[in-house]
Amino acid sequence: MRVDALTGVLLIPAIAAALLAVLPGYRMTARLNVVATTATLLCAVSLFFRRPPTGSYLLVDDLNVTFIVLTTFVGFTTSVFSASYIAHELETGRLTPSSVRFYHAMYQVLMFAMNLALIANNIGLMWVAIEMATLTTVLMVGIYRTHEALEAAWKYFILGSVGIALALFGTILIYMAARPAVGEGLDAMVWTVLVKRAGGFDPALLNLAFVFLLLGYGTKVGLAPLHAWLPDAHAEGPTPISAVLSGLLLNVALYALLRFKMLLAVNAGALAPGPLMVTLGLISLVFAAFMLYRRRDIKRMFAYSSIEHMGIITFAFGMGGPIANFAGLLHMTMHSLTKSAIFFAVGHVTQVKGTQRIADIGGLTETHPALGWGLILGVVAIAGLPPLGIFMSEFLVVSSTFARAPALAIILVFGLLVGLAGLFLRINSIAFGEPRGPSAKAKASYVPMFAHLAIVFAAGIYMPPALVVWFQNVAGLLG
């Protein structure tokens, strides 16, 4: 196959993975990891400018290029963060050199899988990729081999595989639905074809398929009540993985859902996917908001906040319409950046304080000002307070919803408020008050965290017109 930016996005991580699997020595491998992600990022960015032609397996269009760039970017920053994080883990001996090698290899495999899932033009291929991503993350969650880690990984594995299985069944059903209209063979699984012909599909089959896909990929998105794997996986895995999980993997699954939603949207006879997504979204939002109150583990708390935001995003896309879709996209981007930034901060916090228990962390702004204020800024952003990006998306979602469906908007607002109260209940005791826990200086690079926050901040006030046009196109595509 021709080697261009598109294949680069796939090949670089694959090759890097192979290399990292064999190379010894954490320092070099960490660097190599960063280099690989950088290269991938550059390739992805170049996709903005040169669109490679659409094949029957790979595809780049307005919708997924946004996701690709976001994914590769967060992947890059996370690799930078993970370098300093893993170093500390080695010192404390929580990880052995061999497991670090495994970790780096898996990291690249994960990148590969996610990129593949995003640029796949074939629903089967996309399914394979997501399955792959799931399995790699399962392995990484279990990497610490503690009881809790194993239990989390096991739970993640079981629930994830079931979800994946359901998604596969849905995929098959889509094929079945497409076959009469498109004809047998490869074409019946190719996006670009499917979207064109979706009007002629059997609506009943489409509905059935969507139910399975919604539950299957919804499990990966972490929508309640399919969310169970998410908090533990975030809490027990290495923090960089938590960042990637929250920031990227959930998005990838959501991306898949959106694709299928577009299919249903084209077909007149099929049931509207909106209400289902709206319902699931609201359930997740309110549920996660209440779950924030009784959290004792800082990483698990932010995992629940991810569920909350996935709920908001799903809700926005479910509502549909140019403004809501725009808001959904914006919210997704902002959430990825903010949540990963928060996990960067949390990673350092847990390392300097030597614990994840909220009760043992206190007065962070006294002992580690940069870290503390960074964390606060992140929480302020994630809570939807201005002048950061999520405020804009929430503003658009709520205001555009209230005029259309007041009741829904009221529930939404209620969930947001409850969630905010829950978050600050904890963050107050973490960041303020008398310092608790050790106050040794953190050997950490704050660059990724503050880079993310800076972008989020800027986006909250000013969005470059090019990006806006981009988002508006995509919002139009989503219908």
């Binding site: 089967g124 392995l139 994946i164 596969l168 069944f169 076959r179 019946a188 027990e236 959290r295 583990d297």
Partner: protein, 220 residues
């Protein structure tokens, strides 16, 4: 297609559902494993038959995978594992057999109803096939829900995947992609499960999930 083709395919698919019921009924790991092997065997047969009547040779690969891996390798390995772990005691079900059976019936009925709504312009074979496949999937899920033992859960999961394979092969002319992915996922699943069971054993000499549940998050 001729009448006989349809009948045989129908028969095999139906048998698969029946065997799923058998699995639900089993309450010893040994017998469960054996029944699962049978399940895989029938799957292989049905896939092969599909390959024959659709004259799609690549389906024979799938049939082969089903035969070799699911019907032989996995049961044997799990058998070993069980011996190694020394789980000879009964599977303590969460809910009684009777109820499980009833639920199974309900699920089969449900899958029929759901699938048969989709009658027009899709060939009847595919319809039946899908209906049975859905039934198998749901039964597998039911099994995962009603069993506590990790091994039996894994078996439930794999019979669920059998249902997927059935559906995939039933979908006429579905590209190779799917078989590959299925095999691939089975493989991965197998490895991961292996790793897991191994780890789990060295941690807590049992595969009973309740032992795992004690370490659920925030119970510190």
């Amino acid at each position: 297609m001729s009448r006989i083709d349809f009948d045989v395919a129908h028969l095999l698919a139906g048998t698969l559902v029946l065997i799923s019921f058998l699995e639900l009924y089993q309450d010893r790991l040994y017998s469960l494993l054996n029944v699962y092997a049978l399940h895989a065997l029938v799957l292989a047969a049905s896939v092969a038959w599909q390959a024959l009547i659709q004259d799609a040779p690549h389906l024979y690969v799938t049939a082969g995978i089903a035969l070799v891996f699911k019907a032989i390798v996995i049961p044997v390995t799990l058998h070993r594992m069980i011996i190694k772990l020394g789980i000879h005691r009964e599977i303590e079900k969460v809910v009684g057999v009777g109820f499980t059976m009833l639920a199974g019936m309900g699920l089969v009925a449900l899958s029929m109803v759901v699938m048969l709504r989709v009658t027009h312009n899709a060939d009847p074979l595919a319809q039946e096939d899908l209906a049975f496949a859905l039934a198998v999937v749901l039964l597998g899920l039911l099994m995962m829900v009603t069993r506590q033992n990790a091994v039996s859960q894994v078996i439930g999961f794999m019979s669920l995947e059998n249902g997927l394979v059935l559906a995939a092969t039933g979908a006429k002319g579905m590209p190779l992609v799917v078989e590959i992915s299925v095999a691939f996922s089975v493989l991965i699943a197998f490895i991961v499960i292996g790793i897991f069971l191994f780890r789990i054993r060295e941690r807590f000499d049992t595969v009973d999930l309740q032992a795992l549940d004690q370490f659920r998050g925030e119970r510190r």
